[in-house]
Symmetry: C2
Subunit: 246 residues, 2 copies
Amino acid sequence: MALAPPMHGTSLCAACALNEMNLCGAVLKKDQSDASLHPAASQLILSTQTLPARRIISHPKEWSEDAFVICNGWAASSIGLPDGRRQILALLLPGDLVFTDGLFEPMSRRSVEAISEVTYRKFNRARFKDLILEHPELLEKFGKIWNEERARADELTLALGRRKSDERIARLILDLAERLAKRGMMTGQTMEFPLRQRHIADATGLTTVHVSKVLGEFQRAGLIDISVRSLTISNITGLRWIVGPR
Amino acid sequence: MALAPPMHGTSLCAACALNEMNLCGAVLKKDQSDASLHPAASQLILSTQTLPARRIISHPKEWSEDAFVICNGWAASSIGLPDGRRQILALLLPGDLVFTDGLFEPMSRRSVEAISEVTYRKFNRARFKDLILEHPELLEKFGKIWNEERARADELTLALGRRKSDERIARLILDLAERLAKRGMMTGQTMEFPLRQRHIADATGLTTVHVSKVLGEFQRAGLIDISVRSLTISNITGLRWIVGPR
DNA sequence: CGGATAGTTGAGTTATCTCAAATGCAGTGG
DNA sequence: CCACTGCATTTGAGATAACTCAACTATCCG
């Protein structure tokens, strides 16, 4: 199968986490017979939905039996304080798994919000757990995905606690570029960039005002170039230098 | 079995995560026959070790087949930058599980360091995974533990990104008190407190100097009282008010 | 007793925030 | 098509939380 083109609106199942586990794909082409698919895949029942930007996909304390996979668009998982302060915990890209909370318990404090228009597929959490138990190699793959996610969470915590604003923002941009590249969603050094500055602010623990200033400096320094909903990294070495080694 | 007294040096297996999963206890009393223990428990091979304060329990990129459980004392899991900046990701109390990285992959960037003298038990990660597959109810319990940990990580991220220094510190104290209480390690409102101010600083993303000032204010305001290696919450309502609702 | 580690306190600096005003842009309804 | 409203962004001025530096004290341990 050819690489999916990095365009908005294209289904990216080739890069999807579930597909990597040979699960999702089976359901999509249920009628076809594809020997490469995991034999248990047909048991994972999916439904597909699409929401416009700014819409909330999953509410904080909402009880849900489902988890889902982002098929298209960007989303953000965040928690907030009653006075309105918010912190984005993760930016979700196509192919990312979203468990309302872990694999087992629902009812987290997290909420998930669409940044651009988002298409996602729901699947049943309990069934997914059963699948894992029946097919140990899935536990392995799932663990790998889970660990990547946690490693990213660790780096975010480090950034919020110990890095300066420009480091945080540069890191965010580089991280996104890297993740998008893995999905074949970079055209050269350019990516679609649906984030508003308030998303960057909420993801880096800064103010929109300050984000605007730092991004301005980055552009004036020739590190990046932002046009309409799209960001180009013009000087990746410079950006990396700001973040520093490791 | 009676509640273990909240004294340093006492084995706290009653409150231990592994014991809650009916695993650890079995190994401790391998020779006894205890019908309440999980039948698979005897397959979990443990070795016990003790390290003095300040010693590193698990190095960053060190490959290890083992995970462990804190039996006694406090430890800290942290990551750092090459220039020395450090962020503590979690304070580990007796009964906490420590996976060098997740359940599956070793080689994380995290390092674990003893804060006080620490006793811990190693067990084999792979064997633990097999156990989970063989005994589905363990997956359930393990998931619960894992989720609690993640929820705490989320709150930390929120705190570092969006809270002021006094909120962060108050939150840390209350969180510790709550966790210790669950383990029967609070005597009234007093807890053993082996943390140095640099631990608090590294856990809250602040400076030791600033931590000192905030703690001073808290004491002068009659919120807490710190004597030698021990902390008393004198006005829990006041502390909670600083942190704010939820 | 001496040397290391930990905590306190003050003075001055700075990164980031708050407030505010101006501009742009996108969608809506008349 | 225009006026209108709501969101996003930019920019400046001033405020402040937290930092750095530095000196001093206390505590711990051999």
